[in-house]
Subunit: 260 residues, 2 copies
């Protein structure tokens, strides 16, 4: 079970790295391995290029004696891929994706999803394409998935102190699992694979759009709101800090540059 997920996560990560690097004329993703104090570790991947101002594509596989979340206790194992992009061009939205498998003494569950955050420049066509890609993939498994997971993302990616959603949404699910292991794997697989279809056409289409200094400035201010969400509300960040993870890996999602 566990091995099936780990194999998929590693493959998915390499596939995404390949897609991102295909947009970069010369720069390549830099890999840094790290160890987890409780056992296991991961590989951080950071791409700083001409198109991707900073993209983080990380794999981790960690274990410990005491599960650091509220939803479990005792020994645990957690593995997953997490990804974020911050683009040079403010017309290109930021995207975030995560898929994870967690097991504790009482069972296992999966979680994940992806969501899109335009940095000041919302394109309705992009939003529709992004959501449609998720819906197409999930409808094949269960027609109730997309509406539920879309609603989850809407609620989760909300910035209370700014009284706004972080971006234009996507899908998000958590604690899916123990009772239907086969469906849990299918769901994680469909999420990971449809993510590529959801984001790549948007990037390919807009990669050469011109932009102004003012538009760049707007992006940098929007990024500050993104940073606020990640540090104040994001469960993955909190989990990472509490489990004593590598701060640079946990904060690989932070913007390369942000303005307040």
């Amino acid at each position: 079970m566990k091995e099936q997920f780990i194999t998929f996560f590693k493959k998915l990560r390499e596939q995404i790295i390949g897609e991102f690097e295909s947009l970069e004329p010369s720069k390549r993703l830099e890999r840094t391995k790290w160890d987890h104090k409780g056992g296991g570790g991961g590989e951080m991947g950071i791409l700083r290029g001409d198109i991707f101002e900073k993209a983080g594509v990380n794999f981790s596989q960690v274990m410990g004696e005491t599960f650091p979340g509220a939803d479990g206790s005792g020994p645990y194992f957690a593995s997953g891929v997490s990804l974020i992009t911050h683009m040079h061009n403010p017309k290109l939205p930021t995207v975030h994706m995560n898929v994870r498998y967690i097991s504790t003494e009482s069972g296992f569950w999966v979680g994940g999803g992806y969501d899109l955050t335009p940095m000041g420049f919302i394109d309705e066509q992009d939003t529709r394409h992004f959501h449609q890609s998720a819906k197409n993939a999930l409808d094949k498994l269960d027609p109730t998935f997309y509406p539920r997971f879309m609603q989850n993302a809407k609620e989760y990616f909300y910035i209370p102190h700014r009284k706004k959603e972080r971006g234009v949404g996507g899908i998000f699910f958590d604690h899916f699992g123990s009772d239907d292991a086969e469906m849990a794997f299918k769901l994680v697989k469909a999420t990971g694979e449809s993510f590529i279809e959801a984001i790549m056409p948007i990037y390919r289409k807009k990669i050469n759009l011109p932009y102004t200094e003012l538009e760049k400035d707007i992006q940098l201010h929007q990024r500050a709101h993104y940073a606020e969400f990640n540090l104040v509300y994001d469960r993955g960040t909190q989990f990472g800090f509490k489990s004593g993870g590598n701060p640079d890996a946990i904060l690989a999602s932070m913007p390369p540059l942000a303005k307040w």
Copy 2:
């Protein structure tokens, strides 16, 4: 009682604004008033100049039906001055100061302090002067204050996930009060007034020091750690968010520009 604090806070704030503006060749602090939903409000003051890349010097005076912290309940009143500086020149440290008065049904207390954060360039002489200013002022009230409050700051301004202190410390106290109202006021007054003596000579001395692009880059990365502390750990920020305060006023402490 309450009025005595409010009068002092307003006077202290104007004095500090005058000191900061005296270093700026032409730019002046911009003031924005805001209302609090439970009653009262405040005035945010932001100085963006040639020396101060961004300084926030805020006054607030708010009330509400339900105290938003763990250390009280029911109706409350809170007033204070909070201040932060982010300097253009990376050789000039960031400084933070806060003094506050809070009353609930069960009594009142005061809190506050100030601390210094060099942005990559620690100057032992500055650190000594900063701490000595605090010690001189507090020793006149009670010789146990400085050692205790210095230790508080050391523990409070710690960034667990980075495993380091935020800066080189200072003083910090909280829940000082109800049993000795006169001393509470003296303590707040000594803190506010000695702050000016603690920071201004450092700024005056270093204002014209040259710096390189690399030194500026180091500063921007250090600022990211500062932003992390404020968003993840700072009680004032958490209190502000929970009490439904103005996000721009609460986050006036955030760096104008930060790099991850």
